[in-house]
């Protein structure tokens, strides 16, 4: 067996390899390997110093084991030792092991670097070559640091051997790729360029690789390489096949070098006329050669020739300036399309795709349409068919779109599963892009769903709906067509989705026809209901409630369906919720409310087609970008509007939320006018904000405690194993007094006990705190009391921080807690006549048109909620919650995007439940809850759901949203306190006000927040039934 080994073959290695080969099973193989590993390990560890030969042998074995996929965790040291050997074979194996096994972050790098340094300095060309190879293979940063300065010198030095030059060039290339910052540009660059003229073609090849990469980054520095490359190329191309001796490969002169030179030229625009003529000549020669009869029957000959040809064609395409050459290239490729070599057909299709995007050759490409379609039908290789599809997609324009789309559709029926989804996307895009007649578009897409429903992704049918909704003229036709399509005995679920949505929106347009009366429409949809998955059912439920609005006559039927146990008690929480709330909504709400809540969807803001985005994601950016421009042009068509949608992703992320029921998004931009000058106009805006901002690191859990103290005055503020802090406080008007009790829970005394009150700079002028220092020693088990006198000078937002430092048993302790002194402690109710209030209000609203606008929305919500509340005896709480949420934001929860977002809902329920327990029975709980919900609903679920298609409102960034969410519980607590205690229950609804302010907060620019009238606090309050609004002012 070892006979196959050549030269001084290592016998042990050969034996080992044949052993492995003879292993019957994986287990046996692993066993053998482990045995060998143990053997090698013991040999390496053994006392006996190993001679170079056995070291080499073992390292080779390790290499083989590594190749089989086992990790090698030792032996590196031995390999490094081999590096310093003087024997060439040993050194070589050492380097081999290192370049295969060592990755760039190994600790051995330093040792290796030393060996390399020695070899580089040795002036022995083979050793230098090995060292350079090693650098190129490992290419770590450390190596780059050590050698980046050295290698360029080696490269351009006059006396360097050719083979070393080659290695040095590629080594430098590697270093430049890993750490470009470490490779300094210098005078060596110009000399590198001259390597293109080198006698040795190997050097030229290596140098071309290097220059190509460098020129991509620094085109200016290497500009001179263009003319050199062109002359070099022309010398090669025109040379007789024997001139280059060993560099001629199957009669093709230096194919790889030609390819590399052509690639280098692609880094630059077409050169100036003189050089350009020569280049054109070269390219023509290459094209001519393709026409010549082959000099050899061997496939290698034609492959090598075509390699050069294809590279030349990509250069022609890159220059995109010589119509003549482009058309010739195209014709050449057209010939290849029917070639019997599969590889050739594949590449011809691929190159043609790029040709199709050039204006000069687009027409020429189109002449091959029949061939391509034929390829699609008869080609045996799926990857070639895939390229054919790509090419069809690229060559499609308005004139041949119907033909191409029809062909692709018919191909789809037999297409391979692996490429179906992509074809579906492409058909959808083409149909949309070149639709002159939108009925054709609707037909095509419905066909698409019929043929390949499973491969129609969500984006495709979203897009149909977007287009139908945005175009008035196809709505009726679409409704009619989907209605007809739905009548098929078996139809795909995606069709049901589209059908459900479109009929829900535009069913009324075909309801006049007795064959598609409302009841028939409903029954048709409902017959599919039970066959569908949960998301589709949820969508259908939304359709039903829309029917309730569109066709009052089917309302009882729909209510029956909703009421049935299979809906109302469905195991799926989303379906159940929808059924419950839709049923409730349909029973409770009056017609005009229904009409408002369920009105037709407004046109979608124009955005980049989601399908296109998806295709891009699938294919990488290169294939689709060229279509972008035409895409943009089409967007305008669809909207019929003047503004072309920027087809960038930013446009996607910020569609205007124009149809938000709350209308918050549509609110006029925040007033830029001066803030109100009259006193008493200060809003509650800042009352509860930022209460948690920290001066010193706060004790964990203290924030929760803090929130609790917003509405109570006494209790335990902080507790750990050592210390308990209790509070007792009272407030009257703008004054307050707080007793702080420090309890020592241990049996040893605290020393140097110093509590300090810290007010931030902002807080300082607004809040006066006075206290006396306490005794610095607290005995074990004792309690110390500290009195703080508080005076509120002006409204403030932050709470002071209590910092306590003491010594306990030799260790230093430091505790910080927020002291719960909040603005609401100083609130007082005020009665006010309605005229006075409105006068106040008007003053405010001059600059706060925004607030008024908001208030209108608020009132609408309040009214709905009151009606619901009073009509329901004992509403199931979470249901009610959902109902509110739905009325407040019908779009986000699914009717529009069709997506169920449970995480958000669950979070929602938690929030609501918390608020219920806080507010139970309290006056105004209904109002505050409702508002709370709207507030929540106006904040999208952005923090939980990064993919939520809903934009963040008001241009808030995500962090702000999260921050606001965190604050909300503190605000609610405070609000509740006001509702329960200090305000008169009948007139003042502070929670409402707080929530209102909350809602406004994201809307209010600093103009309102910062400079609102300084004295006093006003709040907007609504009260049940009548729509009187009161302004609560606390004058100082």
């Amino acid at each position: 067996m070892p006979a196959v080994s050549k030269g001084d073959g290592m016998r042990g290695l050969a034996v080992f390899i044949s052993d492995i080969r003879n292993c019957k099973s994986k287990e046996a193989e692993i066993k053998r390997i482990n045995k060998e590993l143990a053997n090698i390990r013991s040999k390496f560890k053994g006392d006996k110093a190993l001679d170079g030969y056995s070291k080499k042998k073992y390292v080779c074995k390790l290499l083989f084991i590594f190749l089989l996929g086992h990790d090698i965790d030792f032996g590196h040291m031995e390999a490094v030792n081999l590096l310093s050997s003087n024997r060439y074979t040993e050194k070589q194996i050492g380097y081999l092991f290192i370049s295969v096994l060592v990755n760039s972050n190994s600790e051995l790098i330093r040792l290796i670097n030393n060996a390399i340094k020695n070899d580089l300095a040795s002036r022995n060309p083979t050793f230098m070559g090995l060292a350079l190879h090693c650098i190129a293979s490992v290419g770590s940063r450390e190596m780059a640091e050590a050698f980046a300065g050295e290698i360029p010198k080696v490269l351009v030095a006059g006396d360097t051997m050719d083979s070393v030059k080659q290695s040095a060039a590629l080594c430098l290339l590697r270093l430049y790729r890993t750490s470009p910052d470490l490779v300094p540009m210098g005078d060596w660059t110009s000399r590198v360029v001259h390597l293109l003229n080198d006698q040795h073609l190997g050097v030229v090849t290596a140098a071309t690789s290097l220059i190509t990469t460098l020129a991509q980054k620094n085109p200016e520095e290497f500009k001179t390489s263009v003319s050199l490359a062109v002359s070099r190329l022309s010398r090669i191309v025109t040379s007789a096949s024997t001139d280059l001796q060993d560099y001629t490969y199957y009669f093709v002169p230096a194919p790889w070098l030609s390819v590399k030179l052509l690639r280098l030229l692609q880094c630059y625009p077409p050169p100036d006329p003189a050089v350009r003529g020569r280049l054109t000549e070269c390219l023509e020669t290459i094209l001519n050669k393709a026409q010549e009869p082959p000099k050899s029957k061997k496939v290698q000959h034609s492959n090598a020739k075509n390699a050069v040809l294809f590279e030349a064609i990509s250069l022609i395409i890159h220059h995109d300036s010589e119509p003549n050459l482009l058309v010739r290239a195209c014709n050449q490729l057209g010939q290849f399309l029917q070639h019997r070599e599969t590889n050739l057909r594949y590449l011809a299709l691929e190159s043609m795709c790029t040709l199709a995007s050039s204006e000069f050759s687009h027409e020429a490409v189109k002449t091959h349409i029949e061939t391509v379609i034929n390829a699609l039908k008869t080609e045996r290789d799926v990857s070639v068919r895939q390229r054919a599809v790509d090419l069809l997609y690229a060559m499609c324009d308005r004139s041949n779109a119907p033909q191409i789309v029809a062909e692709m559709l018919s191909y789809l029926e037999t297409a391979d599963y692996s490429i179906r989804e992509e074809i579906v996307l492409k058909v959808a895009i083409l149909a949309e892009k070149y639709a002159v007649d939108y009925t054709w578009y609707v037909d095509t897409i419905l066909n698409l769903i019929r043929i390949a429903g499973d491969y129609v992704s969500e984006e495709v049918w979203y897009r149909v709906i977007q287009i139908v909704i945005n175009r008035d003229d196809v709505q009726g036709y679409a409704a009619k067509t989907v209605f007809e399509a739905l009548q098929a005995p078996a139809c795909h679920e995606n069709l049901v989705k589209v059908g459900g949505y479109i009929l829900g929106e535009f069913g009324n347009l075909i309801a006049g026809d007795p064959r598609s009366s409302p009841l028939i429409q409903f029954n048709l949809l409902h017959s599919k209901f039970h066959l569908c998955s949960v998301p589709t059912r949820a969508l259908l439920l939304s359709t039903y409630i829309k029917f309730v609005n569109l066709f009052p006559e089917v309302k009882p039927t729909i209510q029956d369906v909703l009421r049935s146990d299979s809906q109302l008690r469905n195991a799926d929480v989303e379906l159940q919720q929808r059924a419950v709330e839709y049923l409730r909504l349909s029973t409770v709400a009056s017609t005009d409310i229904l009409a408002t809540v369920l009105e037709e969807m407004p046109p979608f803001p124009e955005r980049e087609s989601s399908i296109l985005a998806k295709l891009k994601k699938k294919k990488g950016p290169s294939t689709v970008t060229d279509l972008e421009d035409t895409k943009r042009e089409r967007s305008v068509d669809v909207n019929g509007g003047p503004e072309p949608a920027p087809a960038s992703t930013s446009a996607m992320s910020t569609p205007s939320p124009s149809a938000d029921l709350l209308g918050l998004g549509a609110a006029p931009p925040a007033p830029a006018g001066p803030p109100p000058s009259s006193g008493g106009g200060g809003l509650l805006v800042d009352v509860f904000s930022d209460s948690a901002s920290v001066v010193a690191p706060l004790a964990p859990g203290s924030e929760d405690n803090f929130a609790r103290f917003v509405c109570k005055n006494n209790g335990v503020l902080f507790e750990n194993q050592l210390l308990q802090i209790g509070l007792k406080s009272e407030f009257r008007q703008n004054l307050g007094r707080m007793f702080i009790f420090y309890g020592n829970k241990t049996s040893t005394q605290f020393l140097n006990f110093t509590p300090t009150l810290i007010c931030s700079d902002e807080l300082q002028p607004n809040l006066n705190l006075q206290t006396k220092p306490v005794d610095p020693t607290v005995e074990g088990g004792a309690q110390v009391q500290q009195v703080v006198n508080i005076e509120c000078v002006s409204d403030f937002t932050e709470a002071p921080v209590l910092n306590i430092q003491f010594r306990y048993g030799g260790t230093f302790q430091n505790v910080s807690v927020q002291l719960p002194i909040t603005l609401n402690k100083f609130f007082q109710p005020t009665e006010m006549a309605s005229q006075d209030f409105f006068q106040r209000w008007k003053q405010l609203s001059k600059s706060l048109g925004l607030v008024l606008h908001f208030l209108k929305k608020l009132i609408l919500i309040l009214r709905i909620s009151w009606e619901l509340e009073s009509s329901t005896r004992k509403p199931p709480r979470s249901d009610a919650c959902y109902a509110w949420s739905r009325t407040c934001k019908p779009r986000c929860t699914g009717s529009r995007c069709g997506r169920v977002r449970k995480p958000f809902l669950r979070d929602y329920v938690n929030c609501c439940q918390r608020s219920f327990s806080l507010e139970d029975g309290g006056p105004g709980s209904c109002v505050s809850r409702c508002l709370r919900l709207c507030r929540l609903s106006s904040w999208p679920s952005c923090d939980e759901h990064p993919r939520c298609p809903r934009p963040l409102p008001f241009g808030l960034d995500r962090n702000t949203c999260v921050w606001l969410r965190k604050k909300s519980s503190a605000w609610t607590a405070a609000a509740t306190a006001e509702a329960a205690g200090q305000c008169s229950a009948r007139v003042l609804r502070l929670p409402a006000a707080c929530a209102a302010v909350d809602l406004l907060r994201p809307l209010t620019p600093p103009a309102i927040r910062g400079k609102a009238a300084p004295r006093g606090t006003a709040s907007l309050c609504g009260c049940r039934g009548t729509l009187s609004v009161a302004l609560l002012v606390k004058e100082k």
Partner: protein, 139 residues
């Protein structure tokens, strides 16, 4: 890689962990083995462009990360490597590559460095290794 899916030689020009390598090789081999003769020699696999060529029971597979690479050039490079190995081993076969793992590596290192071609000249490539053999026979 042979038809049984066993890797005989592999060389990477970027850093991958050993697990990644094993998984990558496994998937790649399955993909290539499942292809038949009339299919073309190029395929797209993850982010790589794969170019392969079959010699009897051996597959030579090259994966390129760069998207606009000249497929034919790579295809012929594979062939040239085989021709060079052939010249050295005098009718190369799987066992040659396997038992002389160090030499094969060495030859490939002479042809390709860091994923770029150094030299395609057969005599140039084989010069150092022949020198080496002569040297070791002498000692």
């Amino acid at each position: 890689v042979n038809k049984q899916g066993q890797t005989r030689l592999s060389q990477y020009y970027n850093n991958l962990s050993i697990e990644e390598k094993t998984i990558l090789e496994g998937e790649l081999i399955r993909k290539c083995l499942s292809r038949v003769d009339y299919q073309c020699s190029f395929l797209q696999f993850r982010e790589y462009k794969i170019i392969y060529r079959r010699y009897a029971s051996l597959y030579l597979i090259v994966g390129v990360i760069n998207q606009d690479v000249n497929e034919f050039a790579i295809l012929e490079m594979i062939h040239n490597i085989i021709e060079i190995l052939d010249k050295y081993y005098e009718n190369v076969c799987e066992l040659d590559i396997m038992f002389n793992i160090d030499r094969t590596h060495f030859i490939i290192n002479e042809i390709i460095c860091n994923g770029e071609i150094i030299d395609m000249n057969k005599t140039n490539v084989l010069k150092p290794i022949l020198l080496m053999d002569k040297f070791s026979v002498k000692t």
